[in-house]
């Protein structure tokens, strides 16, 4: 037996093979479904917007890390996911340079200033989106209709202004005005189911988020199906509220997070000045996440109730 130098790192000696990169690339893969729907309904313009926003996000991360003398970690895929998510939350006709600004803000102010991946309290894509909404309110609410490309209103706006609902099938398939990636509930659900199946998201947040919105709609005399299918709710529930970094870690915490986001969404939609409230709701719950984590520490095995 020859002389070997054995590795002596401590147990466990095997690993599941899961990695941050694998998770991020899978999320990006799932996002391709709503992206494809966006391209189908809004044309090549949508594809260009997604690519530009993603590139801007990745580049911003690289530049930021380079300037700070940190290792460049863009290959972990997290900036890519932020870029795609931001693009899916933008009006398909938004001027490209504005999208670039949004992506730069998302990564720099939403993530890197806090110390990068894992440290940011708020979902970076939503930070980018909210920044754009405040800075370019007109462009951010100029919606184009699918197919003919004329401008028009989103189903939620129509509901808010005129109290008129939109056909369920149209809502479900995505043949409506709105942000690039939020129109097709079908594609979002398929993408979400893929992530659930792979175990990359957990059902409690989307489940309780959508459930809370549906139940509150019924209680408040609104049409729950319309509320579920319109606006950014599906995209938010499956892809943004489930952002691991900014949502609670315990099961109970996830339930509270989902219900909380649902309540805020309904309040903003029904009583607020904006027709849509998903972004703000999720950001609000992001702010609560540390508190939720503190108060939902699970009861451990063998813990006696009174100590």
């Amino acid at each position: 037996m020859g002389e070997f130098k054995f590795i002596t790192t401590s147990s466990p000696h095997i690993h599941s093979g899961e990695s941050v990169q694998k998770i991020m690339f899978n999320v990006a893969g799932a996002l391709l479904l709503p992206t494809a729907a966006g391209i189908y309904f809004f044309g090549m313009r949508a594809l260009v917007l997604v690519i530009i926003t993603t590139l801007a996000a990745v580049l911003t991360e690289a530049i930021f890390q380079k300037l700070r003398g940190k290792p460049i970690t863009v290959w972990d895929g997290s900036a890519m996911v932020t870029g795609i998510l931001l693009a899916l939350n933008l009006p398909p006709g938004l001027p490209l340079w504005m999208a670039v600004v949004g992506a730069a803000i998302a990564i720099s102010l939403g993530k890197q200033v806090y110390g990068g991946l894992g440290m940011n309290p708020f979902n970076p894509a939503l930070i980018g989106r909210v920044f754009l909404m405040i800075t370019f309110p007109v462009q951010m609410t100029t919606w184009i209709n699918p197919v003919d490309g004329t401008t028009g209103a989103t189903p939620l706006q129509i509901m808010k202004m005129q109290g008129v609902s939109t056909d369920y099938v149209k809502l479900f398939l995505g043949n409506i005005g709105g942000s690039l990636g939020e129109t097709s509930a079908l594609m979002i659900i398929l993408g979400g189911l893929y992530l659930l199946y792979k175990g990359y998201i957990e059902w409690r947040i989307p489940g309780f988020y959508l459930g809370a919105v549906a139940i509150l709609s019924v209680i408040l005399g609104r049409d729950p199906i319309f509320e579920l299918l319109s606006g950014g709710l599906m995209l938010g529930a499956f892809f943004m509220a489930t952002d691991m970094v900014t949502s609670p870690i315990s099961r109970l915490g996830k339930i509270i997070f989902g219900i909380g986001a649902g309540i805020f969404t309904v309040i903003i939609r029904f009583y607020g000045g904006y027709p849509e409230g998903v972004s703000f709701s999720i950001l609000l719950m992001n702010a609560f996440t540390p508190v939720i984590n503190r108060y939902t520490v699970p009861r451990i095995y063998g813990e006696v109730k009174v100590r």
């Binding site: 970690t73 990068g116 451990i300």
Partner: protein
């Protein structure tokens, strides 16, 4: 319904290397290194000196303390050294080295005891103590101590742990297939010694042949029940097992006896049976030699004290480039730096991992994916504990129950960021315990 617990993981089990291979008797070693500490508790004092001639089964280490277990020669021959030697559990430990005379002669003092039916509870306990029997799943707690709960603690259930949930290992599996009656006899002895009427033998459902064999062996026995467990790691963890079988939870900081349970490993039961049938103390055990880095994986019946190098040689030696040599399984085993360490009473396996199978991925920041939280069988928050440990926040780590961690490795196994969570939490535990001693 298969019984189980909440949390845990499903690693690849890799038991096919050895699960169908009958136990083979290893060849008589030329030399054994027998450490005076192979158990939890006080080390033994060597009672032989260099030059002494000893025989198989002769006591060579005396257990003076209550929590301890005597140690016996595993071969006949001459004592050539009594000095500290590397121990597979780490560090240097006082050991007796015996050079074989090739005769493997039995010590005259070994006498077959009375059959179990005629033994009194105290005689059984004494036999177990004098035979040096300790927990053979790896922990090595002296068995007799377990069977003697302090006054005020009542025991109503004995569970034989046949889960063998560590990947790769098949020593208990083969034992249950080949010697089911010994496992049952050992359990009966424990039940008689403790006066308990309820015995369970719990086996993971991925060992159907062992389940069948045990089922047959207990057919005519009263008070012994077979429990089929879901296959999930760490199903064989004492706390998880008790929870699965009885629904009880061992209180934080407590012991199984606090919920009236004693858990003993299947191998331990067979060792007890052997002592009752022949009077032989614990000087040999089945160990699984396996992994991607060894040529002929086997289940070997080895003498305590056989150096790892000899055992691995008997399995065709190393295959390809070796990354790690581990005593025990891949989840909780101890990586070795040298091969002249001896197999001890608790050596359930020797796992050789090829270089390519050793995970050396780089660590990335925690993305709070909560995989570790879902995997922890104790329902701790490993990510939070890991962060406390990284920052030296020991008080906070204690508040978040770091001391309850059973070091099963589930959290680190699933961690997407490849953070050595188990290691960090172990560090925190050491700090907390050290600060308490002050």
């Amino acid at each position: 319904m298969l019984k189980t617990f909440r949390g845990g993981i499903h690693p690849p089990y890799n038991k096919d290397f050895t699960k169908h291979k009958p136990v083979e008797r290893a060849k008589l070693p030329d030399r054994v290194i027998i450490p005076m500490s192979q158990h939890v508790g006080a080390p033994c004092e060597p009672i032989v000196k260099v030059g002494d001639l000893v025989k198989k089964g002769q006591k060579i280490g005396e257990a003076k303390a209550f929590v301890s277990a005597p140690i016996h020669a595993s071969i006949s021959g001459k004592v050539t050294a009594v000095e500290p030697k590397p121990h597979p559990g780490g560090g240097m430990v006082m050991s007796v080295v015996i050079e074989s005379d090739g005769k493997d002669e039995l010590f005259e003092g070994i006498k077959t005891p009375k059959p179990l039916a005629e033994l009194t509870p105290d005689e059984i306990k004494n036999l177990i103590r004098e035979s040096g029997i300790v927990g053979m799943g790896g922990a090595g707690f002296p068995t007799q101590v377990k069977l003697s709960p302090p006054p005020g603690k009542t025991i109503d259930t004995i569970i034989v742990n046949g889960a063998e949930c560590e990947p790769y290992l098949t020593a208990d599996h083969r034992l249950m297939v080949e010697r089911p009656d010994d496992v049952v006899l050992g359990l009966e002895a424990i039940m008689k010694a403790t006066g308990v009427k309820n015995g369970y033998i719990a086996i993971e459902e991925n060992k159907p042949d062992a389940i069948e064999a045990i089922r047959k062996a207990i057919q005519a026995k009263d008070g012994i029940e077979l429990v089929e467990l879901a296959t999930k790691y760490p199903q064989g963890g004492e706390k998880q097992l008790i929870n699965a079988v009885t629904g009880r939870e061992v209180p934080s900081g407590g012991l199984p006896m606090d919920v009236h349970v004693i858990v003993d490993n299947a191998g331990t039961c067979a060792a007890i049976a052997n002592a009752i049938k022949t009077g032989m103390p614990l000087v040999e055990r089945i160990t699984t030699v396996t992994g991607t880095g060894v040529n002929e994986p086997k289940n070997l019946l080895i003498r305590v004290g056989t150096p790892f190098s000899e055992i691995i040689e008997q399995c065709g030696g190393f295959k390809g480039e070796v990354g790690k040599v581990i005593m025990g399984g891949p989840m909780m085993g101890l990586a070795q730096s040298v091969l002249d360490v001896p197999a001890v009473k608790g050596t359930s396996g020797i796992l050789v991992l090829a270089k390519n199978d050793v995970n050396l991925s780089e660590q990335s920041p925690c993305i709070r994916c909560a995989r570790c939280v879902d995997a922890c069988p104790i329902h701790l928050l490993p990510t939070t504990l890991g962060k406390f440990a990284e920052r030296g926040m020991w008080t906070e780590a204690e508040e978040y129950h770091a001391l309850d961690c059973i070091e099963c490795g589930c959290c680190a196994y699933v961690c997407a960021a490849h953070i050595p969570l188990t290691q960090l939490i172990r560090l925190a535990k050491n700090h907390i315990v050290a600060s308490k001693k002050k």
